[in-house]
Amino acid sequence: MGEPRVETLDSAPGLAPIFVRAALSRTRRLDDAIPPRVLRLEGQRIDRDHLTAYQRLCGFTADDRLPHTYPHVLGFGLQATLLGDPAFPLPMVGLVHVENEITVHRALTADDLLEITVHADNLAPHAKGRTVQLVTEVDVDGARVWEGRSTYLARGKGETDAPSGDRPPAMPSGFPAAQWSLAADLGREYAVVSGDVNPIHLSALTAKPMGFPQAIAHGMWSYARVMAALGRHASGPVTSHVWFRKPILLPSRVDLVVDTTGIPNVAGLRSARRPDVEHLVLTVS
């Protein structure tokens, strides 16, 4: 990997063209090097209407605070640009978001002017293929205020003895803390807000070619929805770590299960109809 090359963009890139281009060029050379690119957005002002739309859809209070997961959405265009780079070693289409970690160093508000930087890191073997991490860093006035690490899996020939990273905690059991009905068009609604127009989220028709019988909910939506439900326990300067398990097929009814007795607090989403189907588990500390 050569010297990192920092490219400052004027505005967040549009995502639809990136997905289309990625879908059209599915053959990849199985290179082992991540292009040494660092993408940056400077002086990012918060669009209050967009913030409100995100807060409503994910169940956060519609106030002036930026939700825990919100900066991820602001940096997602940069992530997609890196992943869609023809020189990127893993194919963008078919990547599965398996894990995500977010640390908030200080609570952010809609008045903060953000500098968002994204780079790829840790191309690694995995039991079911290869993983790569996309690191999103947010600075305000030169100080690091937020960072996120998204782990994506490209399914393929894996290495069974590959290191598996942090092991997720056990899913909390017992009565649901809440039960949510997720509408069939949830993926389309979140696609509008997040810009993540991956066809697996949009409709059954567009999800089928990718191997899903129905559209599936965005992992980042369910992550955000759980963080919103945890309320004050999960806002402000905290670290969260989510492990995505089985996708949520839309429409669906899901149970939120929470265990706040231990440290860290653990929350999970499971199918309401079949409680053995676990969708995600996350920790907050």
């Binding site: 519609a62 106030d63 002036d64 809609a110 309320g231």
Partner: protein
């Protein structure tokens, strides 16, 4: 009269700036705004995670899903989730009535602390389907089986489809509040000039209060708005004179958009507590919540003006507390319309009204107008119905605290349905 009870203290307040309808808060719900106002209060007085005795608030215009609006706002706020809450609604008197209820429980020793408030949105208003359609849809819902449901559906007519949005209209008279007030203004001979003067004073006083930093610890910005959107610091008689009458008819129509409050969105909350609770939390008492009174008038047949009830309530409140109308350092008379304030003042000066209507032996007399709404009122700030009481209580308490112990303030708020809610605060 309340010697056996302990005193209830006003410790501070917080509100979000009031926005004009479809302005900065167009997408904000009542719950969003009330939660924001609560969180600002919590931050200012370090109440994070604290269990407060009770939170009482309400909204005049409410979606049916918001049945537990205040409790839901508490759960969304940084207060301890073990803080109980309930909703009340008394039209534009809601916010002040909430403060009365909280202070009464504190006086009785039932709670040590409480938060009173109110919120209203004219932007995110509930819309209902027409009454005919509603009835028929309920019938469809009741029908057993697909066949009966289809049958019930055939009952629907194209003319059933209509929506009803809540208006500022009295249910029993069909007249808007402005139209009611126009009649009262005419009865009392309130001139256009006097109304415009009051409006200009309101804008100038509120602007000056922002200027001198008075609002700094009363207001927390929200959704990019740092000051009341309706405030016009450069308001003048000349500018107001150009406006056409909005209520009333003919040459005698005096009420314009400039001397009437606009539709606004906003929320306010006030922190109250016992002396001990305040001391334990290191909070200084701004004012004592001394006493309060409510009144209703029969406005249905033109016997009395819709917004004249505070004139009655104040007379009774003064009587009970052995005070004269002139025994106050500050008067906060809610400016629903400039003419409301002026008609109320004129009524108190009128011997005939005071004798025949209020049952007094003489007129209550006039007040020193320099003591009236000294930090501006609803004409400048705007009037999100239930949020006005909290705005006034917090601001008057602070003003009385600046004046010093023993200073006295009178609050008078008129409300739909011919209601009036009034209260006395004493500086600490």
């Amino acid at each position: 009269m309340t010697t056996s009870l302990r005193r209830a203290a006003v410790l501070g307040g917080n509100r979000i700036p009031f926005a004009r309808q479809f302005g900065a808060y167009a997408e904000a719900s009542n719950q969003d705004m009330l939660t924001a106002a609560l969180d600002g209060l919590v931050a200012r007085y370090h109440l994070g995670g604290e269990q407060v005795g009770e939170v009482v608030a309400g909204a005049v215009i409410k979606h049916s899903r918001d049945f537990n609006l205040t409790r839901e706002s508490v759960l969304g706020s940084a207060l301890s989730p073990s803080t109980p809450a309930y909703d009340i609604q008394q039209a534009c008197g809601t916010g002040l009535e909430a403060a009365i209820l909280v202070s009464n429980k504190i006086k009785l020793g039932q709670i040590e602390s409480g938060i009173a408030g109110g919120v209203d949105t004219s932007s995110d208003a509930p819309i209902a389907v027409s009454e005919k359609l509603r009835k028929k849809l309920l019938k469809v819902n009741r029908a057993k089986g697909a066949k009966n449901q289809l049958l019930a559906l055939t009952d629907l007519r194209p003319t059933d489809f209509g929506i009803a949005s809540p208006g500022n209209t009295e249910p029993r008279t069909g007249l808007s509040m402005g139209e009611h007030m126009a009649q009262t203004a005419k009865t009392w001979g309130i001139t256009r000039e006097a109304q415009d003067e009051l409006a200009v004073a309101s804008h100038r006083n509120l602007a000056a209060s922002y200027e001198r930093g008075f609002q700094d610890d009363l207001v927390t910005s929200f959704k990019g708005l740092a000051k009341d959107a309706n405030l016009r610091p450069d308001s003048s008689m000349e500018k107001l004179a150009t406006l056409k009458p909005a209520f009333g008819k003919g040459e005698n129509a005096t009420m314009t958009a400039g001397n009437s409050t606009p539709l606004t969105d906003g929320a306010s909350v006030v922190l109250l507590g016992s002396e001990e609770w305040a001391a334990a939390h290191g909070l200084s008492v701004q004012a004592w919540f001394v006493d309060a009174e409510t009144a209703g008038v029969d406005f249905l047949h033109g016997d009395e003006g819709l917004l004249m009830a505070p004139a009655y309530a104040v007379a009774r409140l003064l009587e009970r507390n052995g005070l004269a109308l002139q025994d106050f350092d500050y008067y906060e008379i809610h400016e629903a319309f400039a003419s409301t304030v002026l008609a109320t003042l004129k009524a108190w000066e009128d011997e005939d009204f005071c004798k025949n209507r209020l049952g007094r032996t003489e007129a209550l007399g006039s007040i020193d107008r320099t003591k009236l709404n000294v930090n501006g009122s609803s004409l400048a700030a705007g009037h999100p119905f239930a949020a006005t009481g909290g705005r006034i209580v917090a601001s008057l308490a602070k003003q009385l605290h600046e004046k010093g112990p023993g200073s006295r303030g009178l609050i008078s708020i008129c409300a739909a349905g011919g209601l009036g809610v009034v209260a006395i605060l004493e500086g600490a």
